[in-house]
């Protein structure tokens, strides 16, 4: 198992509906927490990577602004985007910058103030999330695309709307425990099943909420990590994959190939398999996305994902706890910050600092973060 690059600090803002501050102040919340967690100062940082989906930013080129506001001049900085998976793409690039020897301590900061633009502007941008020449003209939205994946999964494997609702029920249970989540109410199976259809078969409660938020990871070389950190968490494996933006370019819709490709690469690099993972954070922007993740990551055979949730195996006490921080469904989904928030949860788990949601003795954790409707897939495997 490679132990070349470690995560020595993590931070996250509370995820909220409408953050009452600027993007720089939002970013500061995660950054200051991560830096204090790492126990380092600005001058220790060798470079920063700023992750956000720029269509939500009014500030052009926010990396420059963030480097100044956070006190990271004159070190290099740049922006990095892969929509919802931006900050785990940042993790990958940060890893490479350190492994290459170019830098020794790298800050990966993710933020998104979804409420920076009006909801009308946001609706307009959502329409442009697909191929604007060939799919957007039909009136496409993220829920519609994931709904088509759900329908394909139902048709091939017999998965049901109730199976998806069970995933939301689990998410709300853990959302009640997470003080930084935007959605903290417990929902019953009946409430989930009775919510209105957004894009059939997906209902209101199959979808995560938008939120404003920030996240931050401090990465360090092995030498620096051993010097600075009492509890470094090592990046054991990284994988990344892509699939076509258009639905017409995909072989099937009952899984996300970008995630399969990313998982395979990450498992090989770490020298572990799905059975070795003690706790996982997966990209549940919709309930069906978590269901597909179970299968694409190898926690269940293709088509057997529903059995995992029916039998409660992805709860804290189950054989593979998934999204026990409430997931995107409860925390909310501030696009550029989401991946870093997932990583933070796993880091706290591996350090034994996860509180109410601690998986006893967790040694190896996994993060699965997807950009767009399976356009970009990142998987990271972390260990003590």
């Amino acid at each position: 198992m490679p132990k070349d690059v470690a995560i020595i600090g993590v931070g996250q803002s509370t995820f909220v509906r409408n953050y009452e501050g600027s993007i720089r102040e939002l970013a500061f919340e995660a950054y200051s927490e991560a830096m204090k967690d790492a126990g380092i100062t600005n001058s220790d940082v060798s470079a920063s990577i700023i992750c956000s989906a720029p269509e939500y930013d009014k500030q052009r080129s926010p990396a420059g602004l963030m480097a100044e506001y956070l006190g990271l001049n004159p070190q290099p900085t740049f922006a990095l985007e892969s929509v919802c998976s931006s900050s785990t793409s940042g993790l990958r690039v940060g890893y490479a910058l350190i492994k290459s020897g170019l830098h020794d301590i790298v800050v990966v900061l993710g933020f998104q103030k979804m409420s920076e633009i009006t909801s009308a502007d946001s609706q307009e941008r959502m329409g442009r999330g697909a191929d604007i020449m060939w799919e957007s003209p039909f009136g496409t939205m993220m829920p519609a695309y994931y709904a088509m994946h759900a329908r394909a999964h139902f048709a091939r494997y017999g998965t049901t709307e109730e199976d998806l609702a069970l995933i939301r029920v689990k998410a709300t249970k853990y959302g009640t425990l997470n003080e930084r989540a935007v959605y903290r109410k417990q929902l019953t199976l009946e409430q989930c099943l009775n919510s209105e259809y957004i894009a059939s078969p997906l209902k209101k409660f199959d979808c995560c909420a938008n939120a404003d938020g920030s996240s931050c990871m401090i990465l360090a070389s092995a030498d620096r990590a051993k010097e600075i950190s009492k509890k470094p968490v090592w990046i054991l494996g990284l994988g990344s994959g892509t699939a076509s933006l258009t639905m017409t370019g995909r072989d099937a819709l009952d899984g996300l190939n970008c995630a399969r490709v990313a998982a395979k690469e990450a498992y090989e690099m770490a020298g572990v398999g799905p059975q070795d993972i003690d706790v996982a954070e997966v990209h549940d922007c919709f309930t069906i996305a978590e269901m597909m993740a179970y299968e694409n990551l190898g926690f269940a055979e293709p088509g057997k994902g529903a059995e995992l949730i029916r039998e409660g195996e992805t709860y804290l006490e189950g054989k593979i706890p998934v999204n026990v921080d409430g997931g995107l469904l409860s925390k909310g989904h501030p696009i550029g910050a989401t991946g870093g928030s997932q990583v933070r949860t796993i880091v706290l788990q591996l350090r034994g600092e996860a509180g109410d949601i601690q998986v006893p003795g967790a040694e190896i954790g996994l993060v699965h973060n997807i950009g767009g409707v399976g356009i970009y897939g990142n998987v990271a495997i972390l260990g003590r």
């Binding site: 009308a120 609706q123 307009e124 959502m126 329409g127 442009r128 191929d131 604007i132 020449m133 060939w134 799919e135 957007s136 003209p137 039909f138 009136g139 496409t140 939205m141 829920p143 519609a144 709904a147 088509m148 994946h149 329908r151 394909a152 139902f154 048709a155 209105e196 259809y197 957004i198 894009a199 059939s200 078969p201 997906l202 258009t246 639905m247 017409t248 370019g249 995909r250 099937a252 819709l253």
Partner: protein
Amino acid sequence: MGFEKFGHVSFTSQTKTDAFVEYLVKDEIRATKCRKCGRVFFPPQADCSSCLESDMDWVKVEGNGKIISFTKVNYGPTGFESDVPYILALADFGEVKVFGRFSKEIPEEQIKVGMEVKIQAVSLPNGQVSYQFIRD
């Protein structure tokens, strides 16, 4: 004629494949086919990513397609508010897959994954042109 004529709402007007719209007006749905390697592209591409050439023919998308998946959309993005609900679908026509909408005359209850459909050009009330899936 520009590409802005295509679709319920247009997002872009310029492409080397704007002949697609001219065919659509003549009730034909066409794909592009690489003259060098024979690969067929739908949506149409001006350039072949297999052999990196840009010499294309226009070929008809015909026959029966099979529905891979579909969804009834109740909330649309900006520009589609008055249009909902509508049904989006992906269909497999063998050599190519096609993404589009179902005819509004077909209710969701009658649509199944695996059902056979045909594809048809349509003129929209707002003067735009598009295509839709209809029952075989």
